[in-house]
Subunit: 362 residues, 4 copies
């Protein structure tokens, strides 16, 4: 029993010291996904999950998948209380909420992984033009944008990770090899993304009702989705020059998955096979990126529940364009899984610990 009265019976307790984790804001799909994965991580113990709405309720009452697996209950705990108990804090709050509590965790000296958008943008002005006022901008320089495949070393050294957005993760991983190799005209990038509905979260809203989403498909927030500046920041960083993209998100009538189709004009003659090779080389040794055979393309169904990013590439010889298709599970590689991957890095666990799920198909 810890001070929160929680018996940790369902944790894989090995003999050594277990890293203590708190999930601050654990009642949404992302928070519960963090817990789902952390309960099967051999080196951590979840000591606190918080929620104002569900305070006092066992999480198994809200998410019955946890029945018999954990006796954890939601607490309405203040940040400093959680900081006292935990070594690592996952912030799974909505944007603009996260920045309010982040400084308390930071100052406690604990490690933080923020799954909101609040610390992803390096330029506070840009943040404020898309999201509104930033109340903790002093922390921004302390944070590392946590895509392990690109910034593993920085992640290893930080104790504050800004965990990337779901759309950006699929797009950054899908375009990094092309950008790093100068393969595409940086003024020509168009991204057409499609996301499953879990990306909309668990807040009740007419637009997220089953009957409004099912058997439907639409573009939304055309030309003004808030992930645009994050995508541009990171693609620019990879290209070493300012990049603007046209980014159009669409809503898929399925639970999990993002598929991004990326179009850009090639800067030189190259075959699809050669691009595949180039992508393979770029991601060599990366456990969570899989490059499809030439002529094959990913399906969100084949990454469902897993931490993989599957990427397929093609050269449209008729128009001299590169087409990249990139698929992730938005709740795993696009959120909770990547967060744990980051945690593994800065806590010294094997990077794949707790993340070896094989996609659930069908």
């Amino acid at each position: 029993m810890n001070r929160f009265g929680i018996r940790m019976s369902n944790q894989n307790q090995s003999e050594g010291y277990m890293i203590k984790v708190g999930i601050y804001g654990a009642s949404g799909y992302t928070g519960q996904e963090c817990l789902r994965l952390l309960l099967r991580h051999s080196g951590v113990e979840v000591v606190a999950i918080t929620s104002r709405r569900y305070a006092g309720l066992p999480i198994a009452d809200v998410y019955p998948v946890f029945a018999g697996l954990t006796s954890l209950a939601f607490m309405n705990a203040a940040p400093h209380e959680v900081a006292r108990e935990a070594d690592v804090i996952f912030l799974a709050l909505p944007h603009s909420e996260s920045m309010k509590v982040a400084p308390i965790f930071w100052e406690s000296g604990k490690k933080v992984i923020d799954l909101s958008a609040d610390f992803r943008l390096r330029d506070v002005d840009v943040y404020e033009s898309w999201y509104g006022r930033h109340v903790s901008s002093q922390l921004v320089p302390q944070t590392v944008y946590g895509i392990p495949e690109l910034y593993r070393e920085e992640v290893a050294k930080t104790r504050f990770v800004a965990n990337p957005g779901c759309y950006p993760t699929s797009i950054i991983l899908g375009s990094a090899p092309a950008l790093k190799n100068g393969l595409i005209d940086t003024t020509s990038v168009i991204v057409d993304s499609k996301s499953g509905t879990s990306g909309a979260g668990r807040e009740p809203a007419v637009g997220s009702l089953f009957c409004e989403v099912n058997e439907g498909f639409k573009a939304y927030k055309v030309c003004n989705h808030r992930h645009t500046p994050e995508i541009e920041q990171e693609l620019s960083r990879l290209a070493g020059q300012e990049i603007r993209v046209s980014f159009t998100p669409h809503l898929l009538p399925l639970d999990r998955g993002i598929l991004s189709t990326i179009y850009a004009t090639l800067t030189r003659d190259i075959t699809g096979k050669e691009v595949t090779e180039l992508y393979r080389n770029y991601y060599e040794g990366e456990r969570f990126v899989r490059i499809c055979q030439p002529g094959s393309f990913p399906n969100v169904a084949f990454v469902r529940g897993s931490n993989y990013c599957d990427i397929g590439v093609a050269v449209d010889a008729r128009t001299q364009r590169l087409i990249v298709v990139s698929a992730i599970d938005n709740l795993v590689k696009g959120a909770a899984g990547q967060a744990i991957q980051n945690m593994n890095i800065f806590c010294g666990f094997p990077e794949h610990e707790g993340l070896e799920m094989i996609a659930l198909f069908p």
Copy 2:
């Protein structure tokens, strides 16, 4: 009772002469959709539906939606037999089958609407490079590409309509106003399309199984889908110059609907509101094209079961691109509905007769 032994009890028989219609190849989703709509058309009588596989079976045994509504049974009839009975023939056969029988119907002097791809491409060489040998190329010059909103007068004069493909319909209607007004750089057109699964037809195949499609989403036939030359032919015709497009189809886990997102670089400064206005003017008086309010975009759910093409436009001022989103029901405006619209035109019915369905939502 006609000579096929079919009692036409479920037809709306008004006093005047009823146009007699035969559906050649009626057992697929497109064929049955033609029948579904024609049974509610006040001016026609369906006199024959054919199928080799289901010959002898009442269509209500294969598609129970027709129970109590028609006693029509599939026949394994030769083309000339159907031609003798019918004034208008809908060919709902797979491509390369259609061209084998089309000449018989043509020579019978009857009116023909071909829903396959066989007579859509003006250039037989192009056809053959994508589909294989064309055995009835002599007929190609006789046919009219049947998008009523663009070629109403030609349709009125022909007696052989090549009914457009589903993807092309959504893309042509979505880009015509921009191309006709010189609004976009014709070298910059990228089309990202998403189709419901009924587009794959009713042939049993692993890839079309529920468990393979459901909760999945993928790109397919990247850079080599057979609708590409049809799209290019028609966009080129609208632009008055050769156009090549990057066209990427994707498979949606839903029954009906195509949504195409079209990207192109603007040739001049213009606002989204102005583009909306321009689209509204272009389609003024068109009953089956609806232009969304500025800032609104279509959803395939809002055209399901209807003959509408809904179009939304946006200007991405940051990248100077036009983004058009276009939605149809692939089985209606993308196939059977448009075929009946063409029939109405060349038979002298009001163009909307039998096509006034309001989309079924939810």
Copy 3:
């Protein structure tokens, strides 16, 4: 233009007098379905649709399926205002709201069809034990329970129809022939029903979110669903004796459809073929009830968007039980379609007017 400023341009205005219809509470799925069907009814004109929440908004802004089809806008009108304009009022309010306004419509002398549960139960005490206090119980004796197939004559004479619930409609039609013929032991009736999600309405609630319903299936309100007394009242009436049933509703991950599987012990030896015959005889001449061939059973997909109730029967010779499977579209035969069928009867239209939709498949 009428006094509400609504131009009725989209109505099929024939020369004769058009019955004027108001939909009181038109913003839910049931209300919009009434409008969808009424707009295609040749003898009526919809003069008012009300909604507090959306007052002032064109319905096409809330339900884009209506774009280009009607200029009707939601009004926040008092009952007497609507009563003044309309000849027939559809009440599509939640239960306990309906009974508050029903007396005003009743006293206005206009015809009323109430789609809520408020006037379905003959015994006010029973109503109050399941729903809470009834504030208009004086009206209960004036109303007719509107299942046309059973009570057509009563409907023809009333001017207040209590439109049946969706589950009850499927169950009553599915068991009437068996009960009327004394075929089953009335103490043995078990009903296992499954409903699509549109039955839960359009109120935002966590339990109705896409991600909560999709890929899920559950029983709910086991032993205490409010449709139980309505089912029992009507089955008892058919049997001529008190019947208690076990009724278990389940939630299906699809938009439209109710399928009820009804089990009861047979009182005599009979074959499935004979029961089929008996059901066919019972519903002879009924346009909206279809009895499946022996060995065939209904699918909610085959009634989607239509006013049909499809019924299949089987005799389980091993256990001497009758099994009846009954399918409807909960929004059509289970709500709006049946309401219009009732209107047609008491207004003197052909009973099928405006209800000849063929189910949308796939």
Copy 4:
């Protein structure tokens, strides 16, 4: 490298001896699910997967979820070849295929888990009346019906497990406590089951196409589903007397999950709370059975991808009936998971080894 040329790189190879497993007939959904789970089992090594159709193809080409995870390829190997390599053989063949090869594996002295129906029925005559001739009936007495919660000791001693059917698993676990405690009238059992589409397997058939299943729901094989005798055999065994049930399966438009609703007349007065208690006691210590709180009921979404059977009970006091709702993932507890649970028992692993997946939600 083993003799099949397969490098076992993706296995969790601990130091001790790894049990060698072959999956005979691994190309269906059940076979691949076995592999998915076995690859994450710490004590086994999969040495062979067979398929005639896909012989020579890496399984990752057929099921891309395995990309990067295993280099296993399908072999067209004879039974004795697989028997030579493997210690345990999973037979994931269709019924009537399994019995042809089972004797070879049996005689090899290896351990066998048969996932088909061929060895589940104790009475060969009953088998033959439902399935056709049994060519290996001599083996039937050697096999143990493998529901660990009921027959753990027998499983521990056998080397041939007949792995239960998916429907029967949900029904047997759902009714065992009631039957064992004489709680219900054994002549009154009615089972209404609903299964996800993966239960239909991966053979291409019109009835399993996405567009035929999606947005649909139907009963099928009413009164004649082949799982009926298996259900009756096992319920009779539990009750100690002959039981006949009415069993009606239905097809759900979702991938995974079976939910069975079981109705029976109570033999004595008892409350829902007391029945819950009785069920809890019966399954005390069982890791994979979870009894819901009184008033709560399972949802297939909450067991998806896991080995749990969730059970909720209610007493319908108005009709003196017990209602039990039982949910499993048909591919896990209903097939591959239960098979591995049986393997764990007869191989001496902890029973939950490799089966600790938390359900994937949403």
